[in-house]
């Protein structure tokens, strides 16, 4: 029964709450017990807020009793430790902020708490959402529930690991170069990077102003849609926040993909992709075609310029961290410090040219999305690497299938589409037009309803 509770989705939890078969306090308690048992191994939480969780759960119970509860009421959630939480330590995975206790909540946290979610705690992030946690770092790294010797992706590493292991029902991640979708892919869960400006970044520690996105992570597309509904919308505290009206993300979720046009950009996205990933991707496309989608190849001419993301990200990250790098360099992990310092090595014209390339990529992607409704690609070229590989300081950044959607700001969803012979998950990426998250989610939901990948659970104990 306990395991059943911890892997229920948001909609099912709500149904059981309203039928009085479960209470938010029981569900919060079950999650806290499971965190106590499993997280000594997984390290997904950096701070567990047990008292707060029980207090939130009791408040949700009262709302349910009054008949005022919304769909997220009483649902346990974890926040990436990049999101400011009032009165609760917010570390950004760093020694620099190890004792920072904000006096405010990030807008996303406020919105989910107002929707009645139950805060279980803060989820570990790679240092400042960029650096890998090396042995001896201030905080130990989260481990992948599918194989403890492998990383759970990053930088929203704790979010991915906790969801896969049943240590939260929903989580928040942030995504500058794939940090929502990468952990989703590595951990066999679902992550949505919404359109740039759709969900507020206010109160979230910055990596790159141009590229940072915030968004939901969960074990199903429907759960991501329900969380997005509460998160989306204009926020005056975020200069990039959009006034575009918010769609209804669940109303058309079950409408299927019949007649939807899906484009596959073969160039770039299939370069160096592992054969088992190609096989799983092809099978996923076959499923979508079988459900009535029209599939064709498309071309984004300057797609290879996506690697200019690193110029923008490193330059802006250096600008954000320059003073602390000068004054307190010892509080950064050694390898992160050097990577951030690389941001000082670009020239002003290179940064401007990278932004121009980004503008060209945006224009081309929009043109392609006049021909098709969605783009489909593998989320990552292979399964997630072992700690031993990434702990080599010279471990390179691989070409990324996720970069193009940070460069263009388009909404992109990662969801499980198979498992490799090594037992690690494989992920499908679906991207759509700006502010058309509803279409992306609809296609992802249709795929999920036709497959069982998202129902597989790792054997953690």
């Amino acid at each position: 029964m306990a395991a059943d509770i911890e892997f229920l989705g948001i909609a099912e939890l709500g149904r059981r709450y309203r039928r009085r078969e479960l209470s938010p306090v029981d569900v919060a308690t079950a999650h806290l017990d499971r965190i106590g048992r499993l997280d000594k191994t997984l390290n997904s939480y950096v701070t567990v807020t047990a008292e707060r969780a029980l207090s939130d759960a009791r408040a949700a119970e009262a709302e349910l009793a009054r008949g005022n509860a919304g769909p997220l009421s009483g649902v346990p959630v974890g926040y990436k430790d990049l999101y400011a939480t009032k009165g609760i330590r917010t570390t950004a995975g760093s020694a620099l902020l190890a004792d920072w206790i904000p006096d405010h909540d990030a807008t996303c946290v406020t919105r989910l708490q107002q929707a009645g979610m139950v805060m279980l705690g803060k989820l570990i992030t790679h240092e400042f959402a960029f650096g890998i946690q090396f042995p001896g770092h201030r905080f130990p790294p989260a481990r992948n529930p599918w194989n403890l010797d492998h990383i759970p992706g990053g930088s929203s590493s704790g979010s991915g690991a906790a969801l896969a292991a049943g240590l939260a029902v929903g989580a928040l991640g942030s995504d500058t170069g794939g940090s929502i979708r990468g952990p989703a892919a590595a951990c066999g869960i679902v992550g949505l990077k919404p359109t740039y400006g759709r969900v507020s970044r206010a109160g979230v520690v910055t990596l790159s102003w141009t590229l940072d996105h915030t968004g939901p992570m969960a074990r199903s597309v429907e759960d991501c849609a329900l969380m997005l509904q509460a998160l989306a919308g204009y926020d005056p505290a975020d200069p990039a926040s959009s006034r575009e009206p918010v769609s209804d993300y669940t109303a058309g979720l079950a409408a299927g993909v019949r007649g939807l046009r899906i484009g596959i950009p073969r160039d770039y996205f299939f370069h160096g992709v592992a054969p088992e990933v190609v096989t799983a991707f092809d099978a996923a496309i076959g499923t979508l075609r079988g459900l009535g989608a029209e599939v064709k190849d498309v071309v984004i001419p300057s797609i290879w310029s996506s690697s200019a993301l690193m110029v923008i990200m490193l330059t802006e990250a250096y600008a954000y961290h320059a003073r602390d790098l000068r004054e307190r360099p010892e509080l950064y992990g050694e390898v992160l410090r050097e990577k951030l310092m690389a941001g000082a090595l670009f020239t002003a014209d290179e940064y401007v040219q990278a932004q121009r390339l980004r503008a060209r990529l945006v224009e081309e992607a929009h043109r392609v999305l006049e021909e098709v409704d969605l783009l489909a690609t593998p989320t990552t070229p292979g399964t997630t690497p072992a700690f031993a590989a990434v702990h080599d300081p010279n471990f390179p950044f691989a070409r990324s299938n996720m970069f193009p959607f940070n460069m263009t700001g388009l909404p992109a969803l990662a969801l499980p589409c198979g498992f490799a012979p090594n037992g690690l998950p494989i992920s499908l990426q679906l991207a759509g037009r700006p502010f058309e998250e509803a279409t992306v989610l609809r296609a992802g939901h249709a795929y999920e309803q036709a497959t069982e990948w998202h129902r597989r659970r790792p054997d953690v104990r």
């Binding site: 206010a202 141009t210 005056p236 505290a237 975020d238 200069p239 990039a240 300057s302 290879w304 310029s305 996506s306 690697s307 200019a308 993301l309 690193m310 110029v311 490193l314 390898v335 050097e338 990577k339 310092m341 690389a342 000082a344 090595l345 670009f346 290179e350 401007v352 040219q353 990278a354 932004q355 121009r356 390339l357 980004r358 503008a359 060209r360 224009e363 300081p393 010279n394 390179p396 950044f397 070409r399």
Partner: protein, 71 residues
């Protein structure tokens, strides 16, 4: 992608490190060189005289409300 003659060289990276005044251990310069090479490749391939002018900046709203930046 294969190496290209327009790629930034290791010596150029060392020179940039010197000019910027940042401290990067010699054993890590190769890694940083790899970063810069991959990141700069599309920029170095761009002929700014032939591409159509593109605005690099994000949208600027001159009529932004006073409190738009949270102040």
């Amino acid at each position: 992608m294969a190496s290209d003659s327009s790629d930034i060289t290791l010596d150029e990276v060392r020179e940039r490190i010197r000019v910027a005044g940042v401290r990067i251990p010699e054993e890590r310069v190769g890694l940083i060189h790899g970063f810069l090479r991959d990141a700069l490749r599309p920029i170095r391939a761009l002929d700014t005289r032939t591409v159509r002018t593109l605005e690099p900046a994000p949208t600027f709203d001159a009529a932004a409300e006073r409190d738009r930046h949270g102040r």
